[in-house]
Amino acid sequence: MRKSLVALTLAAAAVPMLIGVAGLPRPGDGSAPAHTHVVARYIAEGAQETGAGNLVTGVLLNYRAFDTFGEVMVIFAALAAVMAVLMPAAPSRPAGTPGNGTGGLQVSPVVAFIVRLTAPFIAIFGAFVIFKGHVSPGGGFQGGVILGALLMLLSVVMGRGMQAPLVPVRLARWLQASAPLAFAGVACLGLALTGTLLGYPAAPEMALVRELMMIVLELGIGIGGAAIILGLFLAMRGD
């Protein structure tokens, strides 16, 4: 595009935004409308009603659980679309040659040793972040991404690409679908218990059931996230 047109569009976009931003309440102001309507109730009663000390997890998995349902469907659909675009392509090498997964990259033995040494600790940290997500900062997706990054590292260092993947393909497909499946399962359980889809039972003596539902959801999101990120990486590498 011509430079004058670009400059004009940028000015037309920036000036109204700056004028609008100048009229907003100061960030950090406790009496701004962002803090006084629904959020006051979330902060005051969230820990008791949801059973989660981490209010963000409580909002994500209890008050706004449908948004999280949509989020796991989006990333699952992205994986399906990436596979549809890249996998039917002709392989860059004739199929049947035993791939070495690293695409010809020589991994230094120092790197391989360090990765193999620290992999169990990274896996424990990822599992910790998933399971403690409802009482400390963390949660399902954060731990899932940490585990997914660990699996990506291992698949490069150990030289396992598409030909001999770390996780067998049939199991990997089920693991990738585990987040939507966990949500569907908990939604049906909520339907059975309360009569509304994804409804949490509100009685105080069912607090254990609420917490279990939340942990199942977090586990599903964590494992699903890790498998989906590994699937994206392997599909894009192509060998």
Binding site: V21, L24, V82, G139
Partner: protein, 116 residues
């Protein structure tokens, strides 16, 4: 202008948004355009998270011993969903760019336009 200096954070995020918009419009390489889209997305996320902060506020974790005004947890939850959607968009766009390169041999937008 006093209002703009008080909201200097918001003005900086507007500037980041415009830098991302410039990259999408003016750069010809498809991967540069995608990085510009990511910069725009992170600018919007930063704007929304900053609108939920409170002066001297702590993280919204209710543990025994946690006191003080809490930052609002609702923008944080919305942005977590937004970050996941952003990474989905990036992954799909990158796979399309790889396929375009395999079919057409170039990822510059003006060369692609001329090749039709």
């Amino acid at each position: 202008m006093a209002g703009l200096w008080q909201n200097i954070d918001y003005a900086a995020f507007v500037a980041l948004f415009c830098i991302g918009l410039y990259m999408i419009m003016a750069k010809q390489n498809l991967i540069k355009k995608l990085l510009g889209l990511n910069i725009m997305e992170t600018a919007v996320f930063a704007f929304i998270v900053t609108s939920g902060m409170v002066d001297g506020g702590n993280a919204p974790i209710v543990a025994p011993g946690a006191t003080g005004p809490f930052a609002s947890p609702l923008p944080h939850a919305l942005i977590l969903t937004g970050i996941v959607v952003a990474v989905s968009i990036t992954a799909l766009a990158l796979s399309l760019i790889i396929e375009i390169y395999r079919q057409c041999g170039t990822i510059e937008a003006d060369e692609l336009k001329g090749a039709e």
